[in-house]
Amino acid sequence: MEFFKYTKTFNFMGKSKLAMIFSIVLVLASYGVLLTKGLNYGVDFAGGTIVQVKYDTTAPIKEMREKLKHDAIFENASITEFGSPDEVVIRMKTSTGSVTTDIGDVTREALKGTGNFEIRRVDIVGPKVGSELKEKGMMSLLLAIIGILIYVAFRFEWRFAVASIVALIHDVSIASGAIALVGLDVNLDVLAALLTLLGYSLNDTIIVFDRIREGVVKSRNVELADIINESITRTLARTTLTSLTTFFVVFTLFMFGGEIIHSFAFTLLVGIVVGTYSSIFVASPILLWFGFDVKNYHTKLAEKAKREAEKQRMRDQYESGVM
């Protein structure tokens, strides 16, 4: 089977202005959502308490609210359905520091008489741990981006590195915007998804860049836009296929992986789509606009090849004993 048979080169760069406007609008909209609605930090980062309760039948949320009203601990607690109608989570912004008295026990006592239920999960994160996790999380995003930047700059050229980082920031921004828009709880798993997204989206970008590099080296054409167009067209099958297989598995994770993994899968789903798009329409045009000079690169490469050849000649001479 073949979805994309290479017959002619598509003019991607011709559409790059349009794509750029689209991207800028999306990114700005994301920041708009992030600024107005904001990220909904979950207990991992904000600190607080989560109690997950599963009933035999549909959870009597109204009755639960009524019961929990009597205990000051549950003041301002939110009770929401979690994945299925018989499962709920109680979320509180407060956390207790006591080891012996446990909110799980308190909840069990308070909910007595609301039916047959089981307390399946209690998460308590103190404010100190929460802020530490947040700090570490930010740090890890930053470090991952810097690490990738250095690697790409080392393997390609600085313009490639900057272009891929812009694409990454584009992807993470839009994914974050989507998370804020849907109002997902931002916990450690969402952070992990964002970091995975960095690696994944960069995968796509690098495959395209690798082709561009190859094209620059091989082709006699010095028009970068043409080389880029051909490279993207040639890798189009791979880009879409891999995105497709990854999308398949993440989608099954999203559908069947259970409520706990939901936010993780959602973030990745958005990320895969945006990441695929950005490797074609964001990273490559930036390369073009940064004025990557094919001619210049050719001369540099020629010089490098010359030096290598010279070195090799020296080595051969040395090895054969002719000095």
Binding site: D102, T196, N203, T245, V249, L253
Partner: protein, 521 residues
């Protein structure tokens, strides 16, 4: 068919993968297995903090106790022995005793001594405070570990995290009661003190406030069985639980459980001295600030053993004995983070993630077969091998599989075929260019190599950062992702290449591009 080094390595890798993943897959008795994370098997994860300020306070208190004991023994009259957060103060009444007292004080480590006429005050040095705080954390870790080792759960984890946090992980906690017991056992101060009842003023205890009591150097403590029953007790204890050598559950004549304890030689001495001098008065056995009993002293008690009777069940008595044996916590601990997952939720998570894994896996396998025909089958063999190797490596290292870790495996399935997609696309291109099958395969691999390497290394960079900065379950994700990527380099690049090389004569014979790579031509 021709053997080549690639196929040999690949075959060895598959054998390795199968052999070492069998224990985990079939849950055999022997062999190293993957450990399930707390989020999958259920359990309790806690991050505890230590109130180190309390440790310095209790250090001061025990210095005060030793001064009191010294002066009693040597019949030195002192007055106004008081202490606060960081210092002890007292007055020597007879100037002749001053040198003797000073000599005794000079033996106490880590204090500055100030003399003002006959009034002496002791302060902990700043180094001593740091040392005491550090000791409190060390000791808390040691004590909690001792207690949990005796609790009866398999492989409890107690470890220091950062400067003064303690990580406690208890897998396999099945019931709420068990969790409650474990939490109580961990947090129990288990501070045993023998204290003297202030018989001169005890009659007025019910009309006294804490401040009144403090004026006499006393504290008001209540009975463990009846909170309304109060005792007025000298704040400075006669002896402390540190001198305990053993504690065990016993039974009284009504067959109610109690705790028998014995003291070391020093403790027995002090205990003997005190009881000898205070016949007719009461001695309070105080545990964690509650009076368990306050029997009359009928005669000098030598031998250094005693009992703590209370209103507890055998289970509680057992846990209490464990706590006493493991020693007191120098400073109270508090909860910084807690995550507890019930076993049923863990089982649900395993089920859900397995469905996702199998579902995603089947989708990818079918897709690859339909799209690439035999090339897809080759890629699928590599994918299956990848999963086995991933599981084998995790089993060998005893790595922990968490729910995010399962997600990492699912993601690996999606991304591991990436290399084969890239390679197959390259080979198709070369076939279209009219290259021979041999050339198409060799050049296809060569051309694809740099892209695959760069892509995998960048993903690896993100995974490593995640591992270093992630905590708990998230680390599990980083582990499966990293191993999955590394294994895919072996299976998807080297392994599939080996298969093609082995089958090359066959491919050349059939010359069927449609069958082999899913294209016409």
């Amino acid at each position: 068919m021709k053997l080549n080094y690639r196929i040999v390595i690949f075959a060895l890798a598959i054998v390795f993968g199968i052999v070492f993943s069998v224990p985990s897959l079939l849950q055999t008795e022997q062999g190293k297995k993957v450990t399930l994370g707390l989020d999958l098997q259920g359990g309790l994860h806690m991050l505890l903090g230590v109130k180190t300020d309390e440790a310095t306070k209790s250090r001061i208190k025990s210095i005060a106790a030793s001064i009191k004991h010294f002066s009693d023994r040597k019949d030195i009259l002192i007055d106004g022995l008081t202490f606060d957060e960081a210092s002890v103060k007292f007055e020597v009444l007879d100037a002749d005793d001053l040198t003797q007292v000073k000599e005794f004080l000079s033996e106490i480590e880590g204090v500055n001594i100030n003399t003002n006429n006959l009034v002496l005050s002791l302060n902990l040095t700043p180094q001593e405070i740091v040392k005491t705080k550090k000791q409190a954390v060390d000791q808390a870790i040691e004590t909690i570990r001792n207690r949990l080792d005796q609790f009866g759960l398999s492989e409890p984890i107690v470890a220091r995290q950062g400067e003064e946090k303690i990580l406690v992980e208890l897998a396999g906690i099945k019931t709420q009661e068990e969790e409650q017991r474990a939490r109580k056992l961990i947090s129990r101060a288990a501070k045993l003190e023998m204290m003297a009842v202030d018989e001169a003023r005890n009659a007025r205890v019910n009309v006294m406030s804490d401040a009144d009591a403090a004026e006499y150097g006393d504290v008001i403590l209540s009975d463990v069985k009846d909170a309304n029953r109060k005792y007025l007790i000298h704040e400075i204890p006669i002896l402390e639980g540190g001198m305990l050598t053993n504690a065990a559950v016993g039974f009284d004549k009504n067959n109610r459980p109690l705790i028998n304890f014995s003291l070391n030689a020093e403790g027995a001495d002090i205990f003997g001295d005190f009881t000898g001098k205070n016949v007719g008065k009461r001695l309070a056995v105080v545990l964690d600030g509650k009076v368990y009993s306050a029997p009359n002293i009928n005669e000098r008690i030598g031998g250094g053993s005693g009992q703590i009777s209370g209103n507890y069940t055998v289970m509680e008595a057992k846990d209490l004995a464990i706590a006493l044996r493991s020693g007191a916590l120098l400073a109270p601990i508090f909860l910084m983070e807690k995550r507890s997952v019930g076993p049923s939720l863990g089982a649900d998570s395993i089920k859900a993630s397995l469905i996702a894994l199998v579902g995603g896996f089947v989708l990818v396998i079918i897709f690859m077969m339909v799209y690439y025909r035999l090339a897809g089958v080759v890629a699928n063999i590599a994918l299956i091998a990848n999963l086995f190797i991933l599981l084998a490596v995790m089993s060998l290292f005893g790595a922990t599989l968490t729910l995010p870790g399962m997600a990492g495996i699912v993601l690996t399935v999606g991304m591991a075929v990436d290399a084969n997609v890239i390679i197959s696309e390259r080979i198709r291109e070369l076939i279209y260019e009219g290259k021979s099958m041999h050339k198409a395969i060799e050049e296809g691999y060569a051309n694809a190599m740099s892209a695959i390497l760069d892509a995998n290394i960048t993903t690896l960079i993100a995974s490593v950062v995640l591992y270093v900065y992630g905590t708990g379950a998230i680390k599990g994700f980083a582990i499966t992702m990293s191993i999955g990527i590394l294994a895919s380099m072996l299976t998807a690049i080297l392994g599939t290449h080996g298969i093609y090389q082995m089958l090359e004569s066959k491919i050349n014979k059939t010359k069927d591009n449609k069958l082999w790579f899913g294209i016409k031509g």
